[in-house]
């Protein structure tokens, strides 16, 4: 099937009234939770996973994807108005966005962010439609050794590109791999680490683990830290940027789209890295870099464009290789597995409605977000009036009821509670839950591929190096690790410098 046929089919799916409704619900929920600090896209998607059981798999992914890129829009609003990033990728927007707001230019900052996000999202959708089919065709020829190399590359990239300490992330990835072995051995069926509990024979439930670590764990962690939310009374005027604003940011939006797209494809890329990279690029290119941090509109336009572009292109590795590029995609991977759909190179042929439907729905969703954001910013800000205590109490109760509904089994509630406690403690001790969940999802894939490779090669580990693609992937793994260690230092410096700058400026 050609790309054009595919896109036509995709729009047929995306424009189905039911799916339009779910895109709308998705981007609306996404925007709302993007505004709310303490409830990010990961937590929300984890909390809503049980509800996707009842709907078609493509509708489920359309909904979850909408929440993901919708939250990228929403996070901008609070970053600009309150210097309160609703989710991690918007931290960069606070640098110049909040300064613009202080100068009375909150409207154009939000407007250009929405426009940039739209452009970045749409360009990225086009790139996804063009690049994914050939990549999937290539991936069909992959054997088990290539999958081992690819999965290892994915897990390593995520631990190295993540925000915290790389050793800690690797440690959590190891724990995820280990937890994934609970239950029956995928080949011989021997039970492992079940301690005689029948409930554990099928392994730990992915949804319960994710809901515990992200949903409950993050709610508890943010509840402990949030101060009373400020109410916003200011009216925001002149959302639509002036012609001069547009001219100033056009280049930043273009570069942000390309950069975000490329970074999003890399495992571990995702929002934070792409927005930081775009900010650094714009600052380096600027004639007068000292304007950055003092309300330069390019400093809002570029990163906002990049993070939305990356949240779209991050779907490429999932839809073509079956490797989730970040934690949100790992959750979507899990949602598809629950529906009996295994994402991978065959997805385009076997489930074209999922592949093309999701792509087309992203276009529709971005259009809705643009239409929602520009007139409704003032309404979204009012959501901040909901107090954290009320929000968390209800979110926890819905989590508990939701997780029970998966198997009508209270055991899952205990699993959520245990992983909630673990997630909270991990957050407090600087261990990232992301690599754990990702490794937990990929663990069975990796183990099966590893054991099949051993059967093919007759027990020789050299099979991973001598086959050209797997050897090349492993070489790439080493290369990327080296590069990212170097750039991670630089990134840390950029953030550090801003930490020193902002308080002083805030006091003025």
């Amino acid at each position: 099937m050609g790309v054009l046929d595919g896109i036509a089919q995709g729009f047929a799916v995306a424009l189905d009234p039911v799916n339009i409704l779910y895109v709308f619900i998705g981007v609306l929920i996404g925007t709302v939770i993007g505004v709310l600090p303490g409830l990010g896209p990961t937590a929300t998607i984890a909390l809503l996973l049980p509800l996707t059981y009842e709907i078609e798999p493509h509708t489920a992914v359309i909904l979850l994807a909408g929440i993901y890129y919708g939250s990228m829009y929403g996070g901008t609003i609070t970053s600009v108005l309150l210097r309160l990033p609703g989710e991690a990728a918007s931290v960069v927007t606070t640098f110049d966005g909040y300064e613009m707001a202080k100068q009375g230019r909150a409207g154009p900052a939000l407007g250009i962010a929405a426009i940039g996000s739209f452009v970045g999202g749409v360009l990225s959708v086009v790139g996804l439609a063009l690049l994914a089919p050939p990549l999937a065709a290539l991936a069909v020829s992959f054997g088990p050794p290539e999958y081992v190399a690819l999965t290892v590359l994915g897990i390593l990239l995520i631990t190295y590109l993540g925000t915290g300490s790389a050793v800690k992330s690797l440690c959590m990835a190891a724990l995820g791999l280990l937890l994934a072995t609970v239950g029956q051995d995928p080949i011989a069926g021997t039970t492992r680490f079940t301690f005689g509990q029948v409930a554990l024979f099928d392994g730990l439930d992915f949804v319960a683990v994710a809901m515990g670590l992200f949903g409950v764990g993050e709610i508890l962690h943010s509840l402990e830290r949030t101060e009373k939310a400020q109410a916003v009374a200011r009216r925001i005027k002149g959302i639509w940027p002036s012609r001069a604003d547009m001219r100033d940011s056009a280049g930043a939006i273009g570069r942000g789209s390309v950069l975000g797209f490329l970074i999003g494809v890399l495992p571990g890329g995702g929002g934070v890295v792409s927005s930081l990279a775009s900010y650094a690029l714009e600052k380096r290119r600027a004639k007068d870099p000292s304007r950055f941090g003092r309300g330069a509109i390019e400093g809002v336009a570029g990163p906002e464009t990049a993070n939305n572009a990356s949240s779209t292109s991050a779907f490429i590795p999932l839809l073509t290789l079956g490797i989730p590029a970040n934690v949100v995609l790992a959750l979507i991977f899990g949602a598809l597995l629950i529906h009996g759909v295994t994402p991978g190179p065959q997805l385009i042929d076997q489930h074209p409605e999922i592949f093309w439907g999701v792509i087309a729905s992203m276009f529709v969703g971005n259009l809705m977000l643009l239409a929602l954001n520009i007139p409704l910013v003032g309404v979204f800000v009012q959501i901040l009036r909901v107090r954290a205590g009320i929000l968390s109490a209800f979110a926890l109760l819905v989590t508990m009821a939701g997780v029970f509904s998966i198997n009508n089994d209270a055991t899952d509630m205990w699993v959520v509670l245990a992983f909630g406690l673990l997630g909270w403690l991990m957050k407090k001790t600087g261990f990232e839950p992301g690599p754990l969940v990702l490794a937990f999802v990929l663990g069975p894939v990796l183990e099966r591929a590893f054991r099949q490779s051993m059967l093919i090669s007759g027990g020789s580990l050299s099979v991973f190096v001598t086959r050209p693609i797997s050897g090349g992937l492993l070489a790439a793994t080493v290369l990327v690790v080296v590069i990212s260690v170097v750039t991670a230092r630089r990134r840390a410096r950029v953030l550090h410098r801003h930490d020193e700058l902002t308080p002083a400026e805030g006091e003025r």
Partner: protein
């Protein structure tokens, strides 16, 4: 006492190490097999090896700055978790509505510091509303409900 305080952050890596070593032992007991014919324990062994290795590294190089202090707020969160545990236990016996009401009340009063009237109202509306949503609309089969039984619903 004082010289110990600087090393408190090493409890995390020590726990990781303990889990790693326990998993190594468990994996060996499952039988490793050989690379040609991997036993059920081989893969868990590899994962446990990685866990133990990173745990050892963290024991030495970990940055104490990563650790947030445990405060009175942390104690409240721990209390809230205990409350949730009571909720789950009670849910298995008397169904959803009553434990949900009490849990919401606890969280709204203690963590949200909402006034009594608002907390009571929200807890009542929330527990009944969510019961109707999950049990009646979504058709989830909660354990038979003591409160709903009283009113004959």
């Amino acid at each position: 006492m004082e010289q110990w305080r600087g090393h408190l952050h090493r409890i995390g890596p020590l726990l990781v190490l303990a889990v790693g070593v326990a998993a190594l032992v468990g994996a060996v007991e499952l039988s490793l097999g050989s690379l040609t014919e991997p036993g059920p324990g081989l893969w868990p062994f590899v994962a446990a090896l990685l866990l133990t290795g990173t745990g050892l590294v963290l024991l030495v190089v970990d940055d104490p700055e990563d650790y947030e202090p445990f405060t009175r707020g942390s104690a409240r969160i721990a209390g809230g978790l205990a409350g949730l545990a009571v909720f789950v236990a009670a849910f298995e016996v008397v169904g959803f509505v009553l434990p949900a009401f009490l849990m919401l009340l606890l969280w709204l009063r203690v963590f949200g510091r909402e006034p009594w009237r608002l907390a009571l109202g929200l807890a009542a509306a929330g527990s009944i509303g969510l019961y109707v949503l999950f049990d009646t609309v979504l058709g989830v089969r909660f354990p038979s409900d003591a409160v709903a039984g009283l009113v004959g619903a």
